[in-house]
Amino acid sequence: MKDVVVVGAGPAGCSVAKELAEEGYDVVVYEKRQEIGAPKRCGEGLSSSAVDNLGLDIPEYCRMQSMDGALVYSPNGDSVRIHSDETVGWILERKTFDKWIHSDETVGWILERKTFDKWMAERAAKAGAKVRAKAKVVDLLPENRGVVVEIEGERKKVESRMVIAAGGVESLIAKKTEVKDQSDLEVVDSGYQYEMVNLDLKDENKLELYFGDEVAPRGYVWVFPKGENKANVGIGIAGDLDETAKHYLDRFIENNERFSKASIVEVNSGMIPVGGLLENMVADNFMAVGDAANQVNPIHGGGIREGIKAGQIASEVASRALEKDDTTKEELEIYNHMWWEERGKSLRKVEKLREVLEDLDDEDLNYLAKKLDGQDLMDFTQGKRLSKLGKLLLKRPKMIKSARKLL
């Protein structure tokens, strides 16, 4: 009997597998795709602070381009001219904005998920975990004591002391337990992306973000440079719209002259759980991590950091539980407490921030711009110091209700 079966070899699954294997547990990781890391469903951005916090020593070959800031473009309003090349005005004057988000240091990286995910899997394997691609887990054994896995058309039972679901947003395994029932379309975003080459990029070291109801309702368009005029050009929008994510992204690209010479070398799509954080992520002999547990930053949709962090926390709890030979729900609930303390509380605040931002107009944003700096913005997206924003909004009569959410 194995100690742990991990379902899914993305960053979350490989993170938990590596830690547990290092503790000496017998761990197997099954990945249904034939290639770990591909096809990606991701813009591939990861901040430097996340890299530091996670203690990752990401090799050069997985890091495509360093980022030193972001260019953020205006939401709806008179300044938006999506049909011209000069497109969009800044949310604020450019001068103010550069102050906001430009840094002399590297603030993040655009990764290559194909190599990054494999590197994560390699770390897990080197630590002693057994990783298997093109192995599809089709069912849980009774009491979550193992799985039924299908490899090359043959199904076999693999018994284990516990199962950890890390199978991404569509994780059927998480749905089979009491952990996750259905997804509410209010809290899911629909994502679509092209990897493009021969692009006319504004700045090779800056993320470009485009907001606005016309461009990307309840979401944004991103251009994440990957070096040498290559970039992920993608969109995440509300999951319950009449038009598709592809429709909005194609329109954005058609209306931008600077994409006219670009070529598409890869097409990606996916669904992003941008809310619906789970109070409970465990059952008897069972835990869920990463997208399978909706662990995503609700403001930017990033999930790499959350998945790896959750994997680290889950491994700590699982290790203790296995050592005590008590992997009941009651024991594993420590993971809920630890995750909510470490990540959930901030992410819940970020969720509130998202709700408030949806109510702001350009005038509000311009007002805020004068009062805030880059550090404030970085902190807000991590759910920190939101009361500063709340206090500023209290001075805007129509924003008082929203402001209270942040105080």
Binding site: P39, R41, G168, V169, E170, S171, L172, K175, K176, D181, Q182, S183, L185, V188, S190, G191, Y192, G239, D240, L241, T244, A245, K246, H247, V267, N268, S269, G270, M271, P273
Partner: protein
Amino acid sequence: MSWEINRDRCLRCGGCVAVCPTQALELTENGVIVDEEKCIECGNCEKVCPVGAITVGDDE
């Protein structure tokens, strides 16, 4: 029962599987398949599909 998928459009991302309240959908090697017994035609999959590959209901 009417659930149709355009397999030329489908990118096999599994977004539809994630939002299915009755676990009627499954992502296979050949794309998404539906279990007609379980499907309640709620339309979640059609709405969330990033490429508009799914049609649910009797509209056509």
